[in-house]
Symmetry: C2
């Protein structure tokens, strides 16, 4: 099972080459930024959920791009592998060392400068260790929007966001992290600096190294800085919670909302009734606003540039029409920003609430939006075939076809749970593959989904990806055991 | 000078291996689709502007992806190079054979099927030989928008649009061709089919081969099909022509328009007074709507999802405020779709009008929007230094920082014109590089800008691009002499 710890034999810290290597690291970044003490390193050698644990010769914290380059040149010369790490908030073990080889954790948190802000160009250039929320706040302070928004935004970093091509709740309108980035600076496996910090909206001068590095999870290069796009900040937001009967109706409502609101539609989040009940159990203040719990709810958000009244009118017209036609059963339009925040808190409280519901097999999947309803029916049937007391706790970004398809059951003991977990994974992912979907919509493959991706992906595509890895990192030093 | 014909010695059509190779091609795609007659091939061996001419063993017109794969396997086995060609409307010679090596033109016009239309998913899957306008019309017939829009849309193909990551007039809101594509199918240099026709808005399962192939101008693989994104079709459009004093004011107006209209702002096209005068000279029906010609005009377009009156009100409020503050001098709001089309016709008539104005050195450049005014001042000074009767004819997509920076002069004879052309190019591109810009914003490098890109781009980046080329096309068979 790919989700277990990959810790192997510890490296041999006393070997002569290691001594010289560590001394050279100290010379490059300063003794204070080369951690080798086990207690000091511990937090960097495991992921925050405690699912992955690894070993490293050192945790190295460079403070600038030239220092990153110096560290990578040293690693290249000494044939030591490098595990880039930002906020260490990933869900797939991509930032935790895997295996027993000689490797360091390259902690990029000190690269946290805002290099420049260019309001006329609508861009900000930040180093990769900047925390996402700082970028959001910087944008807001200048009456702009940086739209990337996700649960870990208070501690995840821009480098990790780009390395995993992060998604979140605003993809429907603004796209994934890749679409929010105009240029990157990166250090390649041999220490070469790729200086691609272009702040241009159009540039067709050769292959897009930017787009290749984004989403490569630190296996092709180490991102050190990026030019991010800023957007005009909406003047008003209108938010509603809608009760409906099933996913097919949610997809129909999505189509109507897109036709009526165009790019003003910025949120369309699906939550199953079971998820909302779980939230209410664990945070009673977030009980559902209606008496009879619907099978499904959708959180609809409109961002507007005129005013609140106009925004409310447009959303109300959409919902009135959907009520009249019977497509939806009930709708609650937030009457204030505080009410809107409460509706979003229900959505954002799901992950935490589910932790109390039992053992979970979580899946971060995407499908063509048109296939969602059929996929769900097939996946449910496949799970029923396991004849176990499984509950489906479904939520997600239906406007992106991205479901967090979580299967929950009462624990039967570690070994039985692990076996059931694997059986559930296989059945769900097989159905995803059959419907042309993705087994990692927004979390990346990391260690967690690497083997499953190998099992399901076309060997021709895997071969092409390996050729690219070989071209840019022929010694296999960057983030080994991840992605491929 | 890189813009001259690259025709060299013709290949030797009678060599035994060529005979076997051509026979195998005929067996693969049928005799009717292997052109070897010089007269039949002629139109495929030159670009439409007649600036590039090349040689080929044959023009091969496969009718399906398996036939493309068969042709590429044959070329790989016989070590024959492949020049992919769609509508042959490119401006940089990317689809015309270069050099004297053994090569074929791979004409993809027969791959013109719409494979599937999925309205609920907002996607259409088309083969690469589909003409852009057909895709636009298909979308419109289903009340959707495919936003890519450019001058050659009546004959350019989707494959060429993606291979050059085409831009056009809607990039401000919808992005370049790359942002409009969810998945691609491609045939690689050895005939391997990369089956990446995923119709997903989120998919983080490894390196983005899609984004690497897009913009690679047929040098890494041959695109055979793509999943394109459809958008809701706006219900109304409000269009205005605005007179202003200079580029700095245009950039300020852009900021105000973005703040007021958000994503409803879908067009912001700059035209210098000199360009508008040229249009009026050659098409008197398109004379400017004001008595005193301004130094600069901007065409502003808003797309709306409510109604025409609301759209007009919003645009009028924006323009009234800009008039009050003195930022703009005059504004004409189109009172009908016919008037709006007439305003767009002025913009679209510029390229043709300029052909009558003298010898032209055309530049397809992009800069950070904030640098446009300073760049223009410096570039003008650099041109003044040439002490020639040069006129700057400027237009472009200022919302993308993309200028069509055209320099015009009365002919002094072919040799002197060529020398002046090169001197102008060098001075303009040097200033572009100094301001962090791009020498090919939306047309691609092809043959035309390849050497200039080599001159100006960081050798480290060029080295990485060559490593990728080597990884995916180790024999250098795909579109030789282009890009790198």
């Amino acid at each position: 099972m790919s989700e277990l710890s990959c810790a192997g034999a510890p490296p041999s810290p006393g070997a002569p080459d290691d001594v010289a290597f560590l001394a050279a690291l100290v010379a490059a970044v300063g003794a204070a930024h080369v951690l080798t003490d086990a207690a000091e390193m511990a937090a960097f050698l495991r992921d925050w959920r405690g699912r992955f644990h690894g070993q490293a010769l050192a945790v190295v914290r460079p403070g600038s791009t030239p220092e990153v380059a110096a560290v990578l040149r040293l690693c290249h010369g000494h044939r030591v592998a490098v595990v880039p790490q930002g906020g260490n908030t990933g869900l797939s073990g991509g930032a935790t060392p895997a295996g027993a080889r000689r490797q360091i954790v390259l902690q990029l948190g000190r690269l946290n400068r805002v290099r420049s802000l260019d309001l006329a160009n609508g861009t900000v250039t930040v180093e990769s260790g900047c925390v996402l929320q700082q970028v959001q706040q910087l944008a807001e302070a200048h009456d702009r929007l940086f739209p990337l928004s996700l649960a870990a935004e208070g501690s995840c970093t821009v480098g990790g966001n780009l390395a995993t091509n992060a998604g979140g709740t605003a993809v429907l309108r603004y796209g994934n992290a890749r679409e929010l980035c105009l240029g990157v600076e990166a250090v390649m496996a041999d220490g070469t600096v790729f200086q691609g910090l272009r702040a241009l909206r159009k540039d067709n001068t050769g292959y897009s190294l930017r787009d290749l590095l984004i989403g490569s999870e630190g296996t092709l290069g180490v991102l050190t800085a990026a030019v991010l796009k800023l957007y005009p900040r909406p003047r008003a937001r209108a938010t509603a919670l809608v009760a409906l009967q099933g996913v097919a109706d949610a997809v129909a409502l999505l189509g109507q909302a897109q036709a009526a609101l165009g790019p003003l539609l910025t949120g369309f989040e699906l939550m199953s009734g079971a998820c909302l009940q779980a939230v209410a159990r664990h945070r009673p203040a977030l009980a559902q606003p209606w008496a009879v719990e619907p099978p499904l709810a959708v959180l609809v958000e409109q961002s507007a540039f005129d005013d609140q009244a106009a925004a409310d009118d447009r959303l109300q017209a959409l919902l009135a029409s959907a009520l009249d036609s019977g497509l939806i059963q009930e709708a609650v339009l937030a009457q204030s920003q505080a009410q809107a925040q409460r509706l979003w808190a229900m959505r954002e409280g799901i992950s935490e609430a589910l932790q109390h519901e039992g053992v979970q097999a979580k899946h971060d999947i995407a499908l063509p939006i048109s296939a969602l309803a059929d996929f769900l029916a097939e996946a449910q049937a496949a799970l029923d075939g396991l004849e176990a007391p499984l509950r489906l706790m479904l939520f997600g970004h239906v406007g992106d076809g991205n479901l967090h398809f979580n299967v929950v059951w009462p624990s039967r003991g570690a070994q039985a749970d692990a076996a059931l977990h694997e059986a559930v994974n296989t059945r769900v992912h097989d159905r995803v593959a059959a419907w042309g979907g993705s087994i990692s919509a927004e979390h990346g493959l990391g260690q967690l989904r690497r083997d499953e991706n190998r099992r399901l992906k076309d060997p021709a595509e895997l071969g092409l990806q390996r050729a690219l890895k070989q071209a840019l990192d022929p010694l296999g030093l960057l983030n080994p055991g991840k992605v491929l």
